[in-house]
Structure formats: C-alpha cells, structure tokens
C-alpha cells in the first residue's frame, strides 16, 4: 500500500476539492487522488484569486503600494502593512519615533490574536463543530472594534505609513484594550472546554498530518506550522525588528509535528501576544506618532529585504529599487505559499478527514498564496 501512494492506478478516484468548497476557505483548488478514503496525492491548483499585486506595485509609489498588501493576507493585514513600511524605512534609512514603534507592535499583536481567533473557529468548523466559530467571533469582534476606532477600518486598516502610523491612537484605545483583555481572560478557558479537551477533536488531530523538522525546513514552512515541528523560526525572536528585542515573550515550540502540535502552538501564541500587549499597554511613550518624511519618497538604488512574523509565518518584502519613486521589482515572500507546498507531503496516506484537519492547521489564506 505504502509504495502505491503517490502513483495513480486504475480505479483511483480523482476528486476536485474546490475552487468552491466549504473546507478550503476561499478559492483553493485541490485535485486529490483517492483510493477509497485514502489519499494518494494532493495537487494544489492556484491562481483563482491571483491579482498580480507584484506587478501592480511596480506602478505605485512607496506610499501607495502599502494598501495593496492588506489584500494579501487579509487576516493579518496590519502585519503585512508593517512589513512594507519597514522595508521602505530601511531603504530610506529613517528612524521612527518610539511611540510609533509601540503602537505598531500593539496593533500587530492585536491582529495576531484576531487572526488566531478566526483560525480557531474555522478550524473547529472544518472538523464539524459549528459553535466555536461564533464563540471565536465574539472575541474577534471586540478586537475589530478597537481597530475600527483607531485605524478607521475593521479589516484592511492601512494604518501604517512609511515613518510611523497614519494617525495617533484614539483616546479610548487603552481602555478598550483593557476591556478586551478582561473579556479574553474570562473566555479563554471555554476554548479548552469546547474544543481542545474534546476527545473527538483530539483523536482527529493527534498523529495526523505529521511534518518532520527536516521536512519543515526543506519545504520552507514557517510560522506556527513549523514551530509545531520544533523549528525555531519566530522572526520576532531571531531577527528582532521594532522593539521586540526589549519585550519579554516566549517563542512557542512543540516537537510532535502533528496537527495537534500546530493547534497548540497557535493557542499558546495567543497567550504570548496577550503578554506582550499587557507589557506595552500602560507604557506607551509620549511623542510623535510619525517621523518627518518627504512628500515624495525615493528609495536609493539597491535591494532591500525585510521580514516580519505574521500570524501565518514569515512574510518577506523584497524591493529592488532603481532610485525612482516606484519600486523596480517587488516580491512578497508570503508564508501561505510555502506552507501550502508541504500539504501534499503531510496528507499522503491519510483519510479525507485528515486532509481537512491538516489543511486547517496550516491556516491557509488563499489571497496570500495567490497574491
């Protein structure tokens, strides 16, 4: 049986999962080859939401192109914008005020929690439990309200500008965040009661979708998916940006490498983000929220690469500048793209249900993959 896996034979069932399918959360198209219920091969077909953002950005100025990246990984839109702003700042060589840095980190961590909340609900829904989805949205909504109040939008915030943030924090911000922290602490134990401790859920997750440490590195898997396999890859720790090196938080690592490990990494990561927010929320320094920049930004000739840790993994922004007002070439190294590449590897030999569980724990956002 094992040697047959990966080869197609007569009598195999070839099924198109997607582009419209309840479990792919978007327009991912997987062509799976089945022998009965056993998966022999999974082949992703991409491009259903390809907008050629890289090409579009070549005709946008350094201020304008940031908004495009909110539409890539729309669940951590803030962190995407952050990466772009950082790259431009690196090119310009400007220092940004400390207040702006703290605001950025706070927003990043709020976004990370919001993204993981949504993932948690969607993950449970993939496995057939509908209720957690709504419970996760309750907490996520309060983050969205905070975002809306300060940034002016709920999902595609576009709050970052090169040199800082677009506007100062809303006066209510600190109170709202503290209310959220209180709500979160009241409700987080429900996550364990409803899903984590549930025997059906554990059976569905444990030992499913095994990704070894070597394979994770070889496939370029990053983020919680790789940390579930014991690969230390948190950019916030390895290559700290902004004020992350002054903060006290842990890089969550699990070594099992199965879906449950990836699940636990994300749940524990939310607590780490809460820890970061608690450290910062009462210590926002006074000062400017934006550094003084020229109206028209021109990056010097050269190449600039900056990576940040989004909720899904390592996002890299690679700008090749010819000295003009627009990037000559821009490349987004999106975390979902690399994480998707290991899907075939981890699902072969499993059941259809395992495919759904593994895919859920990779936390794929399709616009991020297609770009």
């Amino acid at each position: 049986m094992v040697e047959e896996i990966g080869k197609t034979a007569e009598g195999d069932l070839i099924i198109n999962v997607g582009p419209q399918h309840p479990a792919t959360h978007g327009v991912l198209h997987l062509v799976i080859t089945l022998n009965g219920e056993t998966i022999k091969k999974v082949e992703p077909h991409l491009g259903y939401i390809h907008r050629s953002i890289e090409k579009m950005c070549e005709s946008l100025t350094y201020r304008q192109f940031i908004y495009c990246t909110s539409r890539m990984d729309y669940l951590s839109a803030h962190i995407n914008n952050h990466a772009c702003a950082l790259t431009v700042e690196k090119g310009l060589g400007i220092e940004i005020p400390e207040r702006a840095q703290v605001i950025r980190v706070l927003m990043d961590e709020l976004t990370r929690i919001a993204s993981h909340e949504l993932w948690w609900g969607a993950m449970a829904m993939d496995l057939g439990a509908f209720t957690p989805f709504f419970h996760a949205f309750r907490e996520r909504e309060s983050i969205n309200d905070i975002m809306e109040e300060t940034c002016g939008a709920r999902l595609t915030m576009n709050y970052m500008v090169p040199g800082g943030v677009m506007m100062d924090l809303h006066p209510n911000f600190q109170n709202r965040v503290k209310t959220f922290l209180k709500l979160y602490k009241q409700k987080i134990h429900e996550y364990d009661e409803l899903v984590t401790g549930n025997i059906i859920f554990q059976n569905r997750m444990k030992g499913v979708g095994y990704l070894s440490k070597e394979a994770a590195i070889s496939y370029g898997v990053t983020g919680p998916a790789a940390r579930g396999s014991g690969v230390s890859c948190d950019i916030r720790k390895l290559y700290p940006y902004e004020i992350y090196n002054q903060l006290d938080f842990q890089e969550i690592l699990e070594t099992e490498g199965d879906s449950f490990a990836r699940y636990m990494v994300r749940l524990r990561e939310m607590n780490e983000s809460i820890k970061i927010i608690e450290q910062l929320i009462d210590n926002i320094p006074e000062g400017d929220f934006q550094a003084k920049t020229k109206a028209v930004l021109k990056l010097p000739k050269g190449e600039f690469y900056q990576r940040v840790e989004t909720a899904r993994g390592e996002l890299g922004v690679y700008i090749v500048s010819e000295g003009g007002t627009t990037p000559y070439r821009i490349k987004f190294r999106s975390p979902g793209f690399s994480n998707l590449s290991c899907l075939d590897h981890i699902t072969r030999g499993g059941k259809i249900g395992d495919l759904i569980a593994s895919m859920g724990t990779l936390d794929l956002v399709i616009p991020d993959i297609d770009r």
């Binding site: 070889s218 370029g220 050269g302 690469y305 690679y318 070439r329 190294r333 590449s341």
Partner: protein
C-alpha cells in the same frame, strides 16, 4: 557571523563565485553552469548549512534576468543572497527543487510569471495563470491592453 567572515568561507568553498558589495546581506554571484553544484555545496556545508531557502525570485533587468535566492541557515541564523544571471533570450537554469523541496512551487511561479525554464524540474507547469496564457506578465516588456493599470 559578519558578512566578511561568511565571505571568506564562501570564497574558499566556491572559488568561482563573485561578490557584490552593499546591501544588508552578502551577495554572491554565481555562473549558471556552476549553480547546481554550488547549491549542493551551500546546502551541505557543515559549519553553516544553508538549509532554508526562504525566498526565490527573479528580476528582469531588460538585458538579462537575475535569479535571486535568499538562503538562511537555521543553525547559525546567517543569511546570504545568491544571484545567478540568465540569458534573456534563452532563460534556462537547473532546478534546485531536489535540494530545497519548497523551491518546487517557487520555481513554478517564476516559470509562470517570467518564463524561466527550470531544467529537470519534476512538474514544470503554469501555477497561477491558465495553461493557455500567452506571455509572461512580470517581464518588463509585457503589455496587456485590457488589464494593465497605468497611472
């Protein structure tokens, strides 16, 4: 490890490599013919195994293509950038998908958007665009009369 130290190590490892100054990380230029062998060496170098290919892309310089490989070592956390110049008329390079398996998808994407042919690639097909798409959109001379955004 500083860029200079990596430079000495790499120049011992790959005598034919050229180095480019500037930039955050060490830029290494490698000829197309030597690329596969150099990639093997970089991957399997014991002191600093560059085992993590975190970004693979291509830049169209109108006269030639440059393949850009960003490599990282997960043990020592050192980064290098490897650049391989390609002929624009006949862009061909050996695949590295057997060395870093994540490269398979990246190379398909580059093939799709730039038209670079990766020799010995296990499954070189269009990834994002439809199979019957004409042209390679990320090339600088690509013109699409309908869908282009011109500002």
């Amino acid at each position: 490890m500083s860029n200079e130290e990596i430079k000495t190590i790499i120049s011992a490892l790959l005598p034919s490599a050229s180095f480019e100054e500037g930039g955050e990380w060490l830029n290494i230029g490698i000829e197309v013919a030597d690329w596969k062998e150099a990639a093997q060496k970089l991957r399997n170098y014991e002191a600093i195994p560059f085992n993590f290919l975190f970004c693979l892309t291509c830049v169209d310089w109108k006269t030639h293509f440059t393949m850009v490989y960003h490599l990282r070592s997960t043990t020592t956390l050192d980064n290098i950038v490897v650049k391989v110049k390609l002929d624009r008329e006949k862009p061909e390079i050996l695949t590295v998908s057997d060395i870093w398996r994540g490269a398979e998808m990246f190379e398909r994407e580059v093939y799709d958007l730039f038209g670079v042919i990766f020799l010995e690639h296990p499954d070189l097909r269009r990834l994002l665009l439809t199979d019957d798409w004409v042209g390679y959109p990320l090339r600088k001379d690509y013109e699409d009369p309908i869908n282009m955004i011109k500002l």
